[in-house]
């Protein structure tokens, strides 16, 4: 499994090396990658049915981080979807993205995304799972913003990244807490130690953090808005994001944790409420859209809500229904998206109001759209029929009045979904041919075969449901509960309440479809209503932050160097004074046995003269020279106190400083500006206080004797451990070598910074 993921990542980077012509020729064969992965995972089907398949490679074992992978029923379902739909998406994209200037880049990102998604569903270690989780966010950022010349695409990509990536960070916090509670990051260990986790007082926080991650990723209210925005991505990408990957990650995560979290701290209640609200919201919104992709996006939101709801109910029947519904949704949603993409490609529009009567020229595409819509609507004998039936059954059979209310809501949402499925899959093909349509463009086989395969596949799976049930759906349940369960799919159910409800859904949905005429009017009204939405709240929050920091920047960075220095010094003063006040008392201790030698006295006198000269001269040249004199005095002092290293460094630095000053002098006014008395007083105060504090600290350092231990250690071990006799140098390159490494990097950045700033100015 690790190999499979490494191959994906390796190829993703390898594709970048291709030049355009060669890339286009070779990438025609790229569907073979997901196809071979599909075959690989299918071949493991038998082992999955008997139990999980595990792989373990240590990564950072000291911290409990390992590349451990596990293929059990739940992972198996998701890998099949990722690779299966992936194969069709690759195949479709070869034609869809043809002649795109960034054809190669597209496949590179797509492969990266697929690899991350596979890693996510296979990971058995929380930290690796998190890494793959964020990798999907990052790679989907590139995919959503793929048409980067489009301002809206860029914006959508950033929104998606901010929301899903931000949720991922919260998720990491939850994972770390979980790891601390259970003492391991391995998922299989966590599942075993469910009792330990249930007893922990941190459980509510963990659950909320898990929700934060999953709800953002799976576009639950109120974080749903990134998903409709993400339709700026090329259609094959939307297909992939919506049907098999990305948004299903949150569902996967919560399903994975449901065995230990079920019944704990409002887990079920929150899921049912959030999932239910999202389901209704998405379903109602979907039919009022006129853009085909927007309709599909909102039905996805609704479907994700349904999945969350099912996890929240958490009964065996609900989990079974969840597994079936994930498959159903993937198949019909991918089909509808691919049909939409084909329409978009040939008719150059996705606007429902501008499309009609395509059936005349596009019989096969219409068949694909119809089959997908039928499955989405849940008409017998499609696979969707079984999905819906299981959902209704799981709710009805509990005989609880609360769940009956939920059942009512699901019923209502499904009516809208039936209508939306037909709007997206059938409506463009029926009705009159709209006059303004351009002549029909040819439709490539590459665009037709994938949706047709999905439609036919859904139909066959619907007629013979036992195969899928035995091999995919039941193992999911088994992996979650550890128990096996009897098959529950039947092609023909008796005339019980649930069946009647199923039929009623379809009838009402179709009535809605035939009497409802989509128009811009509804859409505008709805937009008007959503003024107070989470999207706008987020936007205003971002604007507020921007404004705050722009004010702060103008306040602190006004372009005057002297002002910067003052800000830095004042901040340091506050920091140090606070520390002195709270931390330690100042101890003045006269260090005994020291007296000032004559030569030291002379040097200090020289330095005082230099300082006075620096302050009182009217010429910059004189002040620069005087500063140099001060530095040389410092050098001498270092020498007197036997610190030749420091003296040498000080000397070199001083020389360079003078050189720099002289270089800059030409650009500065010749005479110092000393007119502003208030400014002078302020500067004197700041520098006076800072000098006093430094003096205090120096005295403190002399007074505190404990620091001798450290110098003692260095002195004794410099030669033993580091084979050096010059302690200063040994400290620099060995004992504190990491510090030095960082310091030279800082120096490097500073050098490059000055270089680029000045070059930038020169180019203006």
């Amino acid at each position: 499994m690790l190999t499979a993921i490494i191959i994906c990542f390796g190829l993703a980077f390898f594709f970048f090396l291709f030049n355009k012509d060669f890339g286009e020729r070779i990438l025609k064969w790229s569907p073979l990658l997901p196809a071979s992965l599909l075959i690989y995972f299918l071949s493991k089907g038998n082992e999955v049915r008997q139990g999980a398949l595990q792989e373990f490679t240590p990564w950072v074992p000291e911290m409990g981080i390992n590349l451990s992978f596990k293929l059990d029923g739940l992972s198996f379902l998701f890998t099949l979807l990722i690779c299966g739909i992936g194969t069709l998406v690759y195949f479709y994209s070869v034609n869809y993205m043809k002649n795109h200037p960034h054809f190669i880049r597209f496949f590179s990102f797509l492969t990266l995304f697929m690899g991350s998604m596979l890693g996510l569903v296979l990971s058995d270690n929380l930290i690796t799972l998190f890494i793959f989780w964020e990798l999907t966010s990052i790679s989907s950022f590139f995919l959503i913003g793929f048409n980067h010349q489009d301002k809206n695409a860029r914006k959508s990509a950033i929104t998606a990244l901010a929301i899903t990536g931000g949720g991922g960070l919260l998720l990491l916090v939850g994972f770390v807490i979980l790891g601390i509670i259970a003492g391991s990051y391995e998922l299989s260990v966590l599942i075993e130690s469910g009792d330990l986790i249930a007893e922990s007082i941190y459980l509510p926080i963990v659950i909320l953090l898990l929700f934060a991650g999953a709800f953002t990723k799976s576009a639950q209210l109120p974080f749903h808005f990134w998903l409709p925005d993400a339709m700026r991505a090329p259609t094959p990408i939307s297909t992939y994001l919506h049907s098999a990957t990305m948004v299903k990650a949150g569902v996967y995560l919560l399903a994975r944790f449901s065995p230990i979290m079920d019944g704990e701290f409002y887990w079920n209640e929150i899921l049912i409420i959030v999932g239910g609200t999202t389901m209704i919201y998405g379903a109602v919104n979907s039919i009022f859209k006129t853009d085909l992709k927007a309709i599909l996006a909102y039905t996805t939101i609704s479907a994700l809500g349904t999945m969350m709801l099912l996890i929240g109910i958490g009964t065996p029947a609900a989990l079974l229904a969840l597994a079936a519904f994930i498959i159903v949704h993937a198949l019909y949603k991918a089909g509808l998206f691919l049909v939409t993409g084909a329409i978009d490609k040939t008719e150059k529009t996705r606007d429902l109001l501008a499309l009609g009567g395509l059936m005349k020229h596009r019989k096969l595409l219409f068949a694909a759209g119809l089959l997908a819509a039928v499955s989405g609507a849940g008409l017998i004998p499609s696979l969707g029929y079984h999905g819906k039936h299981l959902i209704y059954e799981s709710l009805y059979n509990e005989h609880s009045s609360f769940l009956m209310v939920i059942l009512g809501l699901v019923f209502l949402a499904n009516i809208f979904i039936v209508c939306a499925s037909f709007l997206a899959g059938v409506k463009p093909f029926t009705g009159k041919i709209i006059a303004e349509q351009k002549p029909v463009n040819p439709l490539s086989m590459f665009l037709l075969i994938p949706p047709l395969l999905l439609g036919v596949g859904g139909l066959i799976a619907g007629v013979f449901p036992a195969f899928i049930e035995k091999n995919v759906v039941l193992p999911v349940y088994q992996s979650l509960s550890g128990k096996s369960i009897d098959p529950a799919f039947h092609l023909l159910h008796g005339l019980d309440f649930v069946s009647i409800l199923s039929w009623l859904t379809i009838i009402f949905g179709l009535i809605l479809y035939f009497f409802f005429k989509p128009s811009l009017h509804y859409q505008n009204t709805l937009n008007h209503l959503s003024k107070v939405s989470s999207r706008n709240l987020l936007k205003e929050l971002i604007d507020l932050v921007k404004k705050l920091f722009s004010t702060l920047t103008h306040l602190l960075q006004n372009g005057y160097l002297r002002y910067y220095t003052a800000v830095i010094l004042v901040f340091l003063i506050i920091l140090i004074v606070f520390r002195m006040y709270t931390g330690f008392g100042i101890g003045f201790q006269a260090v005994e046995g020291t007296s000032i030698r004559f030569i030291e006295g002379v040097t200090i006198f020289m330095m005082v003269v230099s300082i006075v000269m620096t302050l009182y001269t009217d010429s910059r040249v004189v002040s620069v020279v005087a500063l140099g004199g001060l530095g040389l005095g410092m050098c001498l002092l270092y020498l007197f106190f036997s610190a030749p290293d420091l003296a040498m460094t000080q000397f070199a630095i001083d020389t360079l400083t003078v050189v720099l000053f002289v270089l800059l002098l030409r650009n500065l006014p010749l005479y110092l500006n000393k007119v502003d008395r208030r400014l002078n007083i302020k500067d004197i105060m700041i520098s006076g206080i800072f000098g006093a504090i430094i003096t205090l600290i120096t005295l403190e350092v002399i007074a505190v004797q404990s620091s001798r231990e450290i110098s003692q250690f260095y002195a004794e071990n410099a030669y033993l451990l580091a084979k050096g006799k010059n302690i200063v140098n040994v400290i620099l390159v060995d004992f504190r070598g990491a510090d030095t490494l960082v310091e030279i990097i800082v120096l490097a950045v500073a050098g490059l910074g000055v270089f680029s700033l000045i070059k930038l100015k020169m180019n203006d």
């Binding site: 030749p644 290293d645 040498m648 460094t649 070199a652 630095i653 020389t655 360079l656 050189v659 720099l660 270089l663 800059l664 030409r666 650009n667 451990l721 580091a722 084979k723 050096g724 006799k725 010059n726 200063v728 140098n729 040994v730 620099l732 390159v733 060995d734 070598g737 990491a738 030095t740 490494l741 030279i744 990097i745 120096l747 490097a748 500073a750 050098g751 490059l752 000055v754 270089f755 000045i758 070059k759 100015k761 020169m762």
Partner: protein
Amino acid sequence: MTTLILKTAATYLMPLLLLFSVFILLRGHYLPGGGFIGGLIASIALVVYGYANRIDRIKQFLRFHPGILIPVGASLSTLAAVLPLFFNQPVMTGLWLSGSYPIIGSIGTALLFDIGVYFVVVGATLTIIFSIAEENVKI
């Protein structure tokens, strides 16, 4: 600012100072010196030469932009830091060759690290000074 005395002196001082800086760099582990001081001295040597003649003469002498030294130095130091990993030892462990040489003493990763520091210091200092000097020329 070109005077004959400075110009003549700089012509002889520059190679001497450069040599001295290398000397300071190499002996650093045993006697006062090291990469940082060595780098500063080398920069001074080149800057003095540039002052005496013209700043672009240093470029002619170096034949490359001093900024190149920054990544070279940083890579050398990083290499010295991670080299022990390949010998199954923690990062930044000192590795030493057997045998002793005049001035340098034992050769080990510490020296490699210091050479990296030397290059970064020379590169960064000269880049800063050149950028500022060139800007002055343009103005």
